[in-house]
Each structure stands twice: as C-alpha cells, then as structure tokens.
Symmetry: C2
Subunit: 402 residues, 2 copies
C-alpha cells in the first residue's frame, strides 16, 4: 500500500479535552510511520482545506505534544464555516485539490453534530469520485447531544467543572442568613445534559431547582417556587440551561452560519424578572466559556476515553474504514465499563440526542438513573503542570506544509 | 491569669482562603489550652454576638478542621450588618452581654475595611468599659484594598484564579479567524488590583486592554481601541474592573447596608454599547462569585500567609494586644520575603488602598513594578482532596455554646 499523509480537523466549539483527541491521533499515527507519510493539521477547521493552510504536526516538539492534554481551546483553530448542501459545489473541489496536492489519504474530523455533517459529505464525495481517501469522525461536544454514542468526549470534563464550580458558588451563596436568589446559567441549547449534571451534588449543596430545555419552562411556577424557597430559607438557587425558553427581548440576538441563535444571557434576563415580580435581591451567574475551556478540572475518565477515540479513528482509517465515527457504548455502570465502536456517520450528522424523560423525577429534579449514568463520567483527577503559578499550555510552531 | 474563651468572627464577603485564617487561629489556640478555655465561632458574623449564637469549634472533628483549608465561603456564615456609629447604642451592650456570659477574653474579627471598623469599635468599647477583652483583626479581602498591609489574605488566590481563568478564556476566544470582542468583568469596586493581575499573563495570552477603576474610563477611546484591534486581528479582548464608570442604566441597582452599590453587569452593559456602536459580535463574561470562592486554584503563598495571620492574631491577643490587625510587610520581592506586624486598626478601618499610578504604564497596561509586586503572591499549588469527582468541603456539626 502506498504511503499517504493524514490531516486532522478540529471543528465547532472547543472542549477542555479537544486537544486530547488530537494527542491520541498523533500518538497512534506515530506508531504507523510505515503507512502514514505525514501528520498534518488543518488550520481553522475546514478552512484549512479550503485555503490550503495545513501545518506539519510531525515538526512539533515532543513536549508540546504532551502539553496538548492540558491545553484548552482548539489548538489548530476552528471555524463556523458551513459547507454547501450540494457537494458538487466549488468548495468541495477546492478541498479535494488540497487533499490531492498533499497526497492525503486519511481525514479526521473532530466535532459535534454539525461537524459530523461535514464529515459525512466529505466521505460520500470521496467515495463518489473514487478517491482512496478515508474520512473518519471523532466525537466531541460538551453538550453531550451526539446520537449513537453513550456520551461525547468533552462532556465528562465540562460536567465536572460545572458540578464543582456550582458547588463552590452555592457554599459562597449560603453564607448569609438572608441571602439572594441565584440563577446559574449552564451551556446547553436544546439538550440539558450539563445542567442535569449539577443534580449529582449531595443534598444541601445542590441547586434547589434545575431547569432543562427538554421541558417546557413555566415562568409562573418558577416564580412561585423561588418565592416559597426564599421565604423558607433566605435564599433560592436555580440552575438553568441557556436554552430554556421564556418571553424575553431577543431583538439583539445574533444568528450563526448554522442558523443557531447565539445564546447566553438567559439567567440575567430571568433575574430581572425575579427582581421586578418578586422584589427579591437576585444575582445571575453565567458559567460561560470556562465550562468548555478548563484544564484544571478535567475528568480522567473523559480524557482517557478521548485519547482512545483519537487512536481508534486512526486505526480504523488504516484498516480501510471511512464515513464512520468512533462511538462509545456503555457495557455497565457499576463497575463502569465501555467499548468503542465505529458507527455510520449518516446516523449521527445533524441529529440531537436530548435528556430522556425517564431520567427526570419532574421538571426540577433528576432521577437516580441519570446519576448512575453521569457519575462515572466525572471520575478521576489529572495533575497539571504549572509555570510561575500559571498553567502551561502548548504553543505550536505551525510549520506550514508546502 | 484566669482562663478565658476566644470567639472568631468571619465578616464581609468570603475569599477562597477565609477558612484558612480560621484554621490558623484554631491550630494556634489548641497550643494554648492552658490559657484558652474554649474556641468558639460566631455564626453569621457579628450577628452571632448580637443574638448569642455561638458554636463550639473544639467539638469539631480533626478532619473537618483540616478540610477548612479547601472549603470556600465563610464556614461560620457572614453578615452585611453594620454596627451603629455610636458605640453606646444598645447593640453594643448586647454584644458585651454575650461576651461576658461566655467568659470570652479574646475576639477575632476576620474581614476587610468595613469589618475592621467593627473591630475598632469593639476594641475601643472594651477598653472604655475596662473589660479585659482583647479584640484583634485578621485581614481578608480579595480586593487587596486594605491599608497598612502589603497585600491582603485572599488576594493572591483570587488573582491566581483570575489569571488562569482569563488565560483559558483567551485561548478559547482565539480559536476563530474572525472571532468576537470579549469583555471580561473582574471584581474590584474602587481598587483594580485583581484586574491588574491579568497583566501577568505572557504576551499573546494577556487581554489587549485592561481598565482599572483608578483611571477615568474613556468610552470613546475604548471603542476606538476595540475597533482597531478587531480590524487588525479578528478579535479584541478587554478586562475591566466591575467598578469602572460609564454612562449606563442604574435604575435597578441595589444598595447594601454599608451604602455600597451592588455591582456586576458592567461588562454586559459595555458589550451592548460595543454591539450597537461598532456592530461587532461581542461577548461579555463576568467572572463573578468563583473569583472569591474557588478551592482549586488557591495560591500556596497566600494560604501559608493566611494561616500565619490567624496564628499570630491569637499569639498577640494572648500577649495582651488589642485593637490591632496583623499586617504583612514585604521585605523583598526577589527573593520573596515578608514579615508580619500588628498595625493599629484605626489606621485601617474604612480606608481604601488603590493601585498607584506608578504601577501603570498607561490606562490599559501595567508597569513592571506591578508584576514584580504581584507575581510572588500567586505562587505555589496545593493538592486538594476529592470524593467521587467532587472536591470535599468541611461541614461543621455546629454544637451550640450554652
């Protein structure tokens, strides 16, 4: 078999382990130097292939590669670019040109629903054109809404960050005899997995109320819950998904290239309603970007699995597989065991998996089945390397592939 | 000398090492059991003395006391209560009654400017009444605005949290070719020490612009800075103190019992102005409560010094001192050396220490002298104890003192 190069694409929003997938793929590729002629990275997601902007990851120092495991953000850069629907569009021929130019035989797309759509299109196109190019997906999204996989790489770490941060906020919030109403906003547009995760906190440390976008948000019931909690104990703490829907001023909201509204600000808007309707001191806290960009609270289970998904994507591509994503299938929760399985990517692209009703007690509380599902995913701590009090991050040399 | 009990008061807003001061005081008191008859905690700040609501910290488990070092929030509870100006007011006699009832000879007040005011009044009153009760202050405030001390317990850890969190946000923010304008809001009402701290990040990882409340905020210059940065590199990142002043709607702002406006929301308001004036995608991030309530990024230097301040307050009180706060005096920055010194509390109460102009290059950048000052304070990491993926916190039994 002729030697071919591989290219790795990071797509969509980062997670705190997004660069651990890349680490796994690089480490696996290094074991197959007789088959892989070059390990390339595409800068800024698919844009790197559109503009022939690739870097040679084989030229990076060993230390830099190790640091990938504690580096947040997409080290290769990412993009919000959406490929056209029609894959006979000129954009695809630009991509194919880049792939051919650099003798690329293996393409890895690391991303969520939208990115798996990119992956599916590319794979289909290569097949149609009779090109010997394998395209594989590596799952990634803090939202945990990818279909066909038990959970997504990045979710466990984001959940661990959120659980621990919300715990610290709640301890702080409870210091006063007469405190405030706290509304904590957590990522999750249509799927409330991350918000649900705070229900893993023990009684006394969990938010009083948890609202997922899966359920219809009843503002009046929310206000009456908050009022009675505050009267009883001098504070009320609610965790809400950014995607819950209530009447608010959306005149300034931006829309991205996938047609998704830019979210954020739900807690602030809700806090204003609480202040004006209940006249209670209220504070909103949006957990914001750190949820998906924190190296301090990475889950070891998540990182280990993420590295494994990166490795397996490379292995499967070398075996000749294309158009599949490495999914995680749960064997058991107690003890926690999983197996990894490639899944046809067309089953995943543009599909959203939401929290099932069976995992909820009611619209403010999760069931034990959810806790059993989620607890294993936040286990294990990873020591991180500091320099002068600041956590070290990888910085790439970015040697351009000519 | 007759044995007397001690009581410890936590006052004002928490820091991530507030319970480390208490830890230091308890550990020191345990060494002096021949002089100290009981180690009590006042629940909810000064309210515990007003309402005779004390707990016996000697009844807590050893493990719980150790966990204080990684427990955020005021474990004894805190209060926004301000004592009356006239210390012949009835409230003071209630406090004296509680102190007499429990044979208390030593009072420790852990807090910031406002709390040192409480401390000064109590100390003066005991002296006037001829009571053998020593009242000592233990410094605490993330804002670092206490006078007469090189820095305040809690500042270093908050700065370390902020520096590292802002770094992760910036790495995440730079993933896109065309990104956003980011406005990060950091605690600091009148003093910008915490915001200044982000300037310790290396070039490429520091915010482009830093605005402290010490300088007049020039909105037009800010907008023009943001515009040219965005045009040049596809993003612009500004860190602002919550206390910077610009024209905004303050009709809903609440005022606390010390007459301070409840802050927060400056970044969100500023983001709206950027969006409307420059038509650039903008995101505001308020670092919010985690700044002062995080056990994961505690600075070892800060924690060690904090424990020492707690210890020394007890030692000095036993030596007969009253009306003083344990201050930290810097001997040198390279190598970092400090000495601890009791300072007359009337010099500290209600005084605010702001970032001097000499520590700034201009209104958007700090000078090297600031970096030399701040760097030693964020050094050293402390391993924390987890249970099932969640960091452990102390939970007190709270055995009431009868």
């Amino acid at each position: 078999m002729a030697k071919k190069a591989m290219v790795y694409i990071q797509s969509g929003g980062p997670t705190s382990v997004i660069n651990s997938s890349l680490y796994g793929a690089i480490k696996e590729a290094e074991l197959h130097s007789e088959e892989i002629s070059g390990i390339y990275g595409s800068l800024h997601g698919i844009e790197g292939l559109l503009c022939d902007d690739l870097i040679d990851l084989g030229k990076e120092d060993k230390n830099t590669i190790e640091l990938l495991k504690q580096t947040p953000g997409s080290i290769l850069g990412t993009s919000r670019h959406k490929l056209p629907k029609d894959y006979h569009d000129k954009e695809y021929s630009l991509i194919i040109d880049t792939l051919k130019k650099h003798n690329i035989g293996y393409v890895f797309v690391n991303g969520g629903n939208d990115s798996m759509d990119t992956c599916a299109k590319l794979s289909a196109l290569c097949k149609e054109l009779g090109l010997d190019i394998k395209v594989m997906g590596v799952p990634k999204t803090v939202d945990n809404d990818l279909a066909e996989t038990d959970h997504s790489n990045g979710f466990g770490s984001a959940a661990k960050y959120i659980i621990n941060t919300v715990k610290e906020i709640i301890i702080d919030a409870k210091c006063y005899k007469k405190g405030k109403v706290f509304i904590i906003e957590i990522m999750g547009r249509n799927a409330g997995w991350l918000t649900a995760a705070v229900d893993l906190l023990p009684e006394g440390l969990r938010p009083d109320l948890i609202y997922l976008p899966e359920n219809k948000f009843d503002l009046e019931k929310f206000l009456s819950n908050v009022k009675s909690l505050y009267e009883k104990k001098g504070n009320a703490i609610a965790a809400i998904s950014e995607g819950i829907i209530f009447e608010r001023d959306e005149s300034n909201v931006r829309v991205d290239s996938f047609g998704h509204k830019q979210l954020g600000g739900a807690a602030a808007d809700l806090a204003k309603i609480v202040e004006s309707r209940l006249d209670l001191p209220t504070r909103s806290i949006e957990l914001s970007l750190p949820q998906r960009a924190y190296s301090f609270l990475t889950s070891k289970v998540d990182q280990d699995e993420t590295i494994m998904c990166g490795r397996l994507a490379v292995q499967k591509a070398l075996e000749g597989m294309s158009g599949h994503m490495i999914a995680i299938k749960r064997v058991s929760s107690k003890p926690y065991q999983v197996r990894f399985e490639p899944v046809d990517i067309t089953k995943i692209a543009n599909v959203e998996r939401r929290v099932p009703t069976s995992m909820m007690v009611d619209d403010t509380k999760m069931a034990d089945s959810f806790k059993e599902y989620c607890f294993p995913l936040i286990q294990g701590e990873i020591p991180v390397e500091y320099e002068n009090g600041v956590i070290k991050s990888a910085v790439l040399k970015k040697v351009k592939v000519q």
